[in-house]
Amino acid sequence: MKVRLYDAALVRHLKRAAKERARRAGRKSARGKWWKGGGGSPAAFWWIWLLANAVRVMAQPGNAPQLKGYVLSAMSLALAGVALSQARKLVGKLTTDGERVVLLFYPISNKDFFVWAALRFVARTVWIPVLAFATYFLTNDAAGTQGWVIQIAAALSEWLIVLCAVFALARYVDKYARWLPLVLYIAAGALLFSPARLAEILQPLALALPTGWLHVLMAGGRAQRWEAHVILVGLPLVGLLFATLYNRLQVVYCKDETTVPRQEGQAADFVGRASGTELSPEEAELQEELESAEEAPAFPIQATWQKQRLANWGAQAAEYIWRRDWMRLWDWQQLPPIERAAGWCLNQREKGEAQFLLGPKPPAWSEKWKIAVIATAVAFAVMLSGLEKLYFLAVLASAVAVALGLPLLGGNWPVTNQGSISGKLSPIFGCYPLCYWSAGWTMFKLNAVRTAAWVPLGLLLGVLNAKSTQASPAQGCWVVARCILLFLMVMPILLAGKFSKVTNDTLNLRLRLVPLVGAFVCVVFLMITLGAVALLVAPGPWAFPFIVATGLVAWGTWAAYGCYYDRAQVDLLRERS
């Protein structure tokens, strides 16, 4: 059976019929749109990447062949990252995504679903050959019809190789780290924009990747010679490999689940195996249950057992309720150092509010800080080693130290997670009386404590930065100090964003909102200007007035958004994307 979900012709037909009936009945049109446009695609990011490539290749005098090699190597790295991330995505689509879950309730076989989902997945990667072709067009000098044919064949090969990698990796997604694609993207970007330092390390790596051989053949405009024939012969072979991997994955995915019937005497085996060892209460209970299950029908015994167990739990729960532990706030004094310090800054009401903002469990800021310390130490060690080839590791470690130690983008607040209200999304705090002003102030205090705890690490990173730029350590520290102050100053805007992101204030923009949006753009521009002056232009202590001015603008914007949030037509409800 061929699965035709979302049959476009049938949908068009039904839509026409429904509209016709609604029109004849004089009813209002159906609410909302029939179809929503899709969300952002990763392809958008790759077009930016391509544009950056184009600018770089075009800007190079004489389009140096070496640079083209760098671009193709960077593409190898990036597409390896794409293969890794897309493999995980494919697995998600086949196992846990919404469509898979929904279709479990319909009579569709695993095979039909696999074909449908896999082909849809393949169709959505069509941007890869387009991107590859555009890159070859920029970097390959082959001319005429043959040149076009080679470039198209290479682009298709590129696509098939990535798909082969995706289908091969799909069975092993739990074997590699989630951050691996990101590392490859960063490596690709680094190679593209700093090839002199990194080419020696990254180019051999790129060559070893699945698409590396193709890029060697296509580099330097040699594609009209024997290499062209290799590509043309390689295309059907890669196609064959893809078909094989597709079929293998299909076989694995569609393998029927085998059910092992309970063997006679299974309970006795269990008891036999368990004898001689001391059983835990749970095991003893299970053993008893298994033994009784062989003598009597399972259900009544299970019901009795459950009833007793529930009764016991009920008694325990009641005891727990009477002890009133559940009403107590977190004991901030017992939490790790950074959390404890945060507790000192909050009064009793704010502690309750912070507990709501942070969700069910105390934050793990101190743990993150410790990892940031390790990352800073790694960065320091790399820089002190003097191995320039490894400097990118220092940059990566510094990025980790910043990302874990600082509440970037305003920090993580579980209370802004969204739940469903009649099919639409609303933040958790929507149903509870959470005050924008006091919540914002509490969030600011907590973020400020985290930032203060990060200051020593920041100063160390400043010293490192000074070493790489031949500046004095004091100058490096001064740069970091200004950055931290600016970060604290812009924090209110980030916190307003935490509220804004769960409202519909930026959706369905109406004409009367245009001035507001314009004003916001002006504010952002003003803040960037003031921040840039404070960081780059103002000498010494003259930076402070600009930092303070940035803070005033940010707090003003936070307050203005608060008034808007409290009074204007901002709904705590968003359509599902």
Binding site: R21, R24, A25, G26, R27, K28, R31, G32, L310, A311, W313, G314, Q316, A317, A318, Y320, I321, W322, R324, W326, M327, L329, G352, Q355, F356, G359, P360, K361, P414, G419, S420, I421, S422, S426, I428, G430, C431, Y432, P433, L434, C435, Y436, N508, G562, Y565, D566, R567, A568, Q569, V570, D571, L572, L573
Partner: protein, 243 residues
């Protein structure tokens, strides 16, 4: 709490979900909001709870205009959506404690809490994370928090189709009636007409975003034994239907 809904309209994109709804509700009433799917029932509740802001019109609680920023007013009402908003990793008791703090209520009597949980048959689940509960159990947990808080205005979306078992629904009805006698106002939506007829002090029928009918259950069809709510709704639909 005296509630006045004054010509409230709400527009989503190009669609008016509510159109000029005006309603006065006295304290101590159990109000059932009925209507077809998409009639605007949940939007009306969202407006009452401050989740959605009316495009036009105003809502007054005890004569004071309601806005999201007015925390004193918001602490006097509690909204229980069709799927209660809660942290999945909290248990029922932690959820209740969180609500008590947010609504600035005094520490509740432990016996009362245990009794509510017992009556709702979730006492044994008191230590279980909310994320692992069934829909009905989750709704009961939200309802337990509402009963502990006991706000002046209860706003409940589809409590009778929330997955609660018959005992849970019976307890909800009993507690709502009792809340009414204490001067609380209970506004709820439902599609179960038989229960709405007997349980509600007042019924409001929404249709295409507008308030079509409102009154005491019997009054809507001219008295006991002379018709039914179902007939009233079918008549409304016939008035609307195509020729």
């Amino acid at each position: 709490m005296q509630i006045r809904i004054d010509k409230v309209s709400k527009k989503f994109s190009s669609v008016w979900a509510l159109e000029e709804v005006s309603l006065d509700l006295e304290p101590g009433q159990v109000v059932g909001v009925l209507g077809a799917n998409g009639a605007g029932k949940t939007t009306l509740l969202n407006c009452l709870a401050g989740i959605v802001v009316p495009s036009r019109g105003r809502i007054y609680y005890d004569g004071e205009e309601f806005r999201r920023g007015k925390m004193e007013l918001r602490r006097r009402l509690m909204f229980l959506p069709d799927l209660p908003m809660a942290f999945a990793r909290m248990n029922v008791l932690q959820h209740i404690a969180m609500c008590v703090r947010l609504f600035e209520r005094p520490e509740p009597d432990a016996t009362k809490v245990a009794k509510i949980l017992d009556q709702l048959n979730i006492l044994a689940l008191a230590g279980m994370p909310l994320g692992t509960m069934s829909r009905g159990q989750l709704y009961k947990s939200g309802l337990a928090a509402l009963l502990v808080i006991d706000p002046e205005l209860w706003i409940l979306d589809e409590p009778l189709a929330s997955g609660m078992d018959p005992m849970g629904i019976a307890y909800f009805k009993r507690e709502s009636k009792s809340a009414g006698t204490r001067g609380r106002t209970v506004v709820y939506t439902t599609q179960i007409l038989e229960i709405a007829e007997k349980f509600s002090d007042r019924i409001c029928v929404l249709d295409h975003g507008g308030l079509r009918l409102t009154g005491k259950a019997g009054e809507l069809w001219g008295g006991e034994g002379k018709g039914s709510l179902e007939q009233v709704l079918l008549d409304l639909r016939d008035q609307d239907s195509m020729p």
